[in-house]
Symmetry: C2
Subunit: 458 residues, 2 copies
């Protein structure tokens, strides 16, 4: 049997790549209202791929924003049910001029498939579908019950799927979820992610004068919203990255000593991380914590964007009437998003400069997640992973947030197997995003093996 699967996978590599490239050509940027038709095309593409793989009841479900795609196959009584999740939406590709090839014209260079969404998350989501197709082709049936739920708003907060999961626990009932939206710790190293940071994304708008003012005539007497925003945001964290919101660290739990020890054993090369991934003069962050602790187990405040006043070519001597910033807090387990948002609102109220008005808008929020490594789905995923890759699986966390994992835990009471095949330098959210082609194929094989093992476990 293993040989038949391996043979099928080897024989179909070319087609698997072509199909994924077709998917990647759809610019399904969820934050861009003009891409709405592409969002619809991407949803239809997913539904039709699920049908082709042998799943039933494939359905594009309208929501308040972007559609969900659902499908299932429930003909394995007594076997576990696995809920496979992915997202078909992608981040905006800007800055466009930094791409070596157009973001929505996938191309293979040096064994990597370059395109927006190649790794995050179209390529990884498509692996699930191809694994199902392969199992059916080889076995004529499937080893366990499957449900698929794929969304189009992951990059913009995922409000619709959160509501859908909360409202449809019976339809989605399962024993575990499978989520491939994370990365291998290093190429060739089977990796399960068992912890995620949460995220609160906010917009802060500062207003001052009723209109843009000439800075010569008013500079020294009129409040400046750009500077007001600068003053405020400069106080949210200190130069070392320590967040100054009162109480922000009260609920932060340190990782267990065993988990911390296992991180220290990972082949993490700080100099290489700096050189190959970050590319700045040096790393920064809270003193007293390792880099992995800082990005996996410590909260972080970031300003993602700021805009105000004149920023074109040349000089304009203006005191602008308005300035805005996009900011976020990354959260760790036990931190309550609502509490942090309330604390930030209070901080803004307490530190708004004279003459300025601040308006805070919450764009999205989700708590952090920790998964129990003793759950059967996690154990069997780890062993399938180790079999395909030929070495033991490591358990890590991820500093990014996968809000759906929190929703599955909260509303369905199930853990998520976070089995990702990306690499740390894939450039998610950056220009020249890529997915290592070999990992796409290994991913399909690993998911297929995991489905077999999980089906045999009951």
């Amino acid at each position: 049997m293993p040989d038949a699967l391996a043979t099928f996978l080897a024989t179909n590599r070319g087609r698997f790549l072509e199909e994924l490239e077709t998917f990647l050509r759809i610019p399904s940027i969820s934050t861009d209202p003009e891409r709405r038709p592409d969002i619809e095309r991407a949803a239809q593409f997913v539904a039709s791929s699920l049908r082709d793989a042998g799943l039933e009841h494939a359905e594009v479900i309208a929501t308040d924003k972007h559609p969900l795609v659902y499908a299932d196959w429930l003909h394995a009584p007594g076997k576990p049910t696995l809920l496979c999740y992915g997202h078909y939406d992608v981040q905006p590709p800007d800055p466009l001029e930094a791409w070596l090839s157009p973001p929505f014209e996938p191309v293979v260079r040096d064994g990597n498939l370059y395109a927006r969404g190649a790794a995050d998350d179209k390529g990884q989501m498509y692996m699930h579908i191809k694994a199902v197709e392969a199992l059916r082709a080889v076995h004529g049936t499937l080893p366990l019950n499957l449900k698929f739920l794929v969304e189009g708003e992951e990059e913009i907060g995922g409000a619709s799927i959160t509501r859908y999961v909360a409202a449809n626990p019976d339809r989605l009932r399962a024993d575990a979820a499978l989520v491939s939206d994370t990365a291998l710790y290093a190429d060739g190293m089977p990796t399960l992610c068992v912890g995620l940071r949460g995220l609160i994304y906010l917009e802060v708008e500062a207003t001052g004068p009723a209109r843009d003012l000439h800075s010569g005539l008013y500079g020294g007497a009129a409040p400046n919203p750009v500077f007001g925003l600068i003053e405020l945001l400069s106080k949210v964290k200190d130069a070392q990255g320590v967040i100054r919101l009162p109480g922000i660290y009260d609920d932060v739990e340190a990782p267990a000593p065993a988990e911390k020890a296992s991180w220290e054993a990972l082949p993490f090369d700080e100099a290489e991380f700096l050189r190959a991934e970050v590319g700045s003069l040096k790393l920064t962050g809270e003193p007293g914590y390792s880099v992995l602790e800082r990005i996996w187990a410590r909260p972080a405040f970031e300003v993602h964007g700021i805009a105000g006043g004149f920023t074109g070519a040349g000089a304009k001597t203006v005191i602008p009437a308005v300035a805005t910033a996009k900011v976020s807090f990354r959260l760790v387990p036990k931190q309550d998003p609502a509490k942090v948002v309330a604390s930030f609102r209070q901080f803004v109220a307490d530190h708004t400069p004279d003459g300025i008005q601040m308006h805070v808008r919450e764009l999205s929020g989700s708590p952090a997640v920790l998964v129990d490594t003793d759950h059967p789905s996690i154990r069997l995923a780890a062993s399938a992973f180790a079999e395909v890759f030929g070495r033991p699986t490591v358990f890590i966390r991820d500093g990014a947030s996968v809000p759906i994992v929190g929703d599955f835990a909260a509303h369905l009471g199930i853990p998520s197997v976070m089995m990702g095949f990306g690499l740390p330098d894939d450039g998610l959210h950056s220009p020249n995003e890529k997915f290592r082609l070999e990992n796409y194929y290994l991913g399909i094989a690993t998911v297929a093996r995991f489905l077999e093992r999980y089906g045999q476990s009951a």
Copy 2:
């Protein structure tokens, strides 16, 4: 004679307005490279208007950037020579959506002429030309020698005219200059401006990671250039507006007690200034100084614009690779621009956050100016002004900079009569810039009277 002049001016009001409207329809935005053909058209318009008014040797002079326009009339031996200055370039009109009528389609509403450049400076510069035309029409000759020098780079630093003045002191030799690029202190109140703040305009670029990073994967360990810029700029001045550059106040001279007393006698209404002009919750600025002192006689630091990261609709969790800000220092008499720039560069070097690189670019710089109120040109301008307006002329300063006034002082050794007819709420550099139509006509009359008086003085 006075009656003949007044009659001519009254009879020609309609034509004077139409001609100015034609001038205002040319979108001669000096900072926008795409407007280069409009810059050329505006220069040609000025040259041809000067010729029509009876001036000679009208010439459009090519420079490294935007052309200058020169003309003269030198047939009054023994009489003083006045150098009339103005600029035909304008600020960008953005934000366009805030204009009630298109910025380059002048329209009269409620006695005001609305258009970009109506007051700053096309309308005011055109008054000089119409005053000359009127005097020639009425007297058949001119009462003194005149030179005109009009530039197209005032809004972007005026580098070309600065070079031209420095290189051509003989051609431009004069006894005084006439500059109408300031405002009346209040409507109906004849006002001469005898002090201007200087300006240093700078761009600061912050860089960090080699590319945009996913903030989930790197937040807490990677330096963020947007936050780095925020940290740096927040330190340049404190919450009350006091600038923190070491030594910045060392050369600042307080206004003479008499000048300060005269400012206190001006009908300045702080509540009205706040309500009608600034429109913010309250005024801000250095404690211990009146509003007029703060904007006329104290240095000020402003951030005019800031840009970095994702600022579109929705959410993008990015740590951007680069962020930029446009900033300026307003300078007062005795402050040396070069010294302040050096101090700022040192401050940036001293306060650049870890992991960030800052690059400072100086876009323009000019010192502050104080004019001697005992000079004949100033005395006669004050009396002409008082005659036309029917009340005594007040002496004020202006917080904005008119770099050419410093150039005339430095290279030609002459004072500038800063006789402006704008109003404080004209919205220079803002949407819905306007010029009170009555003041356009009064301005033509006042300039004509001043030329007569100055000619009779010798």
